[in-house]
């Protein structure tokens, strides 16, 4: 027993050596502030005066007496549930198309990536207003079909959907990751399948999709963590208001408002830790499920 442990620890040495930079960063830069925010979540902290311990009061208020918490949860869940599947589907589809050996594809790859490069640039806010305001381009197009559209971006029923569209429009990152994943699928597998006379859909479902699952899984997790914390689209497009009528009040935007506009950092920290637990639960569930559908080292 002791010998076995000794051997395992000896083997561990190399692992921890490689892990060293990360461990230094974790203990030196990440852990302290994270614990500090956990502590702050049990205090009333207005940024300037010393934090005052209030026990679980912040959490109680979140659970029982905060309509904005519920509103922002609703918005965030809708956003996560709609934007991720659509964005990943679009990214995968285009990655498949762009992975062919056709001339000129690098150009398209770059072009399709362009919207993502815009990131959170302020120009996005103006562009989106040009497209989705009452007198915007989208409604001008709809008018050709005799449809009079609403002002999508400033209507509480539709404003969130313009942000979902924005997220899908910027599908470049998952697309590139899918492309890199597709590149790692051995070509000889396809050749073998070709020799067997497998049809295109069959090749997709029995080779591409299974071998791509680690990448799909990665994209899913990362996009989910990202979408739950989505901040900049709403911050830019609604200029930080989360309006109209809180219809784009993303959870992270609400945290930001509480922390920096309303000087309720303790409360904001409590909100943040609830979000962390939520994301962690979803991630853990995804990892558990991954045993059944993700294939490593096929």
């Amino acid at each position: 027993m002791a010998v076995q442990w000794k051997r395992r620890l000896a083997r561990s040495k190399a692992g921890y050596l490689f892990l060293l930079p990360w461990l230094v960063g974790f203990f030196g830069l990440t852990l302290g502030p994270a614990l500090a925010s956990l502590y702050l979540s049990f205090t009333r902290f207005d940024l300037f005066r010393a934090p005052k311990w209030v026990g679980a009061a912040n959490y109680v208020r979140i659970a029982t007496d905060d309509p904005n918490f519920m509103a922002s949860m609703r918005v965030t869940f809708l956003y996560v549930a709609c934007s991720i599947p659509l964005k990943l589907a679009v990214a995968l589809a285009l990655a498949m198309v762009l992975n062919r050996g056709i001339r000129g594809l690098p150009i398209y790859r770059a072009l399709f990536y362009l919207p993502s490069l815009l990131g959170a640039s302020v120009a996005v806010a103006i562009l989106w207003r040009q497209l989705f305001a009452g007198d915007g381009l989208v409604n001008a197009l709809l008018a050709n079909f005799g449809i009079q559209g609403p002002s999508w971006i400033s209507n509480p029923h539709y404003a969130l959907w313009t942000l979902v569209l924005l997220s899908i429009w910027q599908f470049g990152s998952p697309m590139v990751i899918f492309l890199a994943g597709l590149r790692q699928i051995p070509a000889d597998l396809y050749e073998a399948a070709n020799l067997d006379g497998a049809s295109r859909p069959r090749r997709f479902f029995s080779i591409t999709l299974p071998l791509l699952t680690p990448v799909i899984f990665f994209n899913f997790i990362v996009q989910m963590i990202d979408a739950f914390q989505s901040f900049t689209p709403a911050f830019i497009v609604s200029r930080g208001t989360g309006g109209p009528v809180n219809s784009t009040l993303f959870y992270a935007l609400y945290i930001y408002q509480e922390a920096f506009s309303h000087f309720q950092m303790g409360y904001a920290a409590a909100l943040a830790w609830i979000l962390l637990l939520l994301i962690a639960a979803f991630t853990a569930f995804s990892f558990l499920s991954s045993r059944f559908w993700v294939y490593y080292d096929a």
Binding site: F18, F26, L29, S37, A120, A268, D297
Partner: protein
Amino acid sequence: MLETAPLAQGMSARRGAARRKPLRTAIVHSMLFAASVLMLYPLLWMLSASFKPQDEIFSGSLFPSSVSLDAYVRGWNGLSVSFGTFFMNSLVIAALSIIGNLAACSLTAFAFSRLQFVGRRLWFGVMLVTMMLPYHVTLIPQYVLFFNLGWVNTILPLVVPKFLAADGFFIFLMVQFFRSIPFELQEAAMIDGCGPWQIYFNIMLPLSKPVLATAAIFTFIFTWDDFFGPLVYLSDVRNYTVALGLRTFVDSQGLSDWSAVFAMSCLVIVPVFLVFVFFQRFLIEGIATSGLKR
């Protein structure tokens, strides 16, 4: 170790297929073209607006009646410090971040994906959790930390974390890709007496060019677009990054000068676009891995 023959065959087979089906190629091309026009329309609109005089911007036609570079000149000097300085600052930060991220995250990812050690799963979970805490609530404790280190108003708070693999996204990305590189290679090397360092340098890194290129591209884009870090840590205008400069320009007064805003917004994308085009080559090099003997 590498068998390149199947690769060449595979590629020529695919190319051949494309050549034999010109109709299909044409359809793919036209569909891609239509899709890209649809997607890029907002950007084209912005580009065109940057050349238009102020009163023409919102008046319909995509094509400016006359092309003027005035907006670029006005925007370039839109703050008391020119955008040239911001571009230099951003480039330095982005370059250092890429080096840091590639080095530190690949080491960490190698440990997580290829080495056996006590507590591996625990640390991996911890690493994932660090991605889940919204940064707005750790900002102040972190600011206090960096302030006490004397790092405020230098680039250190923006760059040092990259060398310490603070961004879990990149670790996770590399872990996923390292895991799909066949274990047989590693085992063969170990039988030959290679230690973990040799495996890391001689096997993992050369075989991971696509993911390293991806990480480099993303690091560049993320640092280029990030405004919150620079906002908090770089208080002197001369130290501003492009993203922060653009925001300050727009936020403070630029909105009375739309075309200059669009001009700068276009200009800011150019370096990122070039970086993408440049690193794309390495994405394609990834085909080499498909020639591996399995």
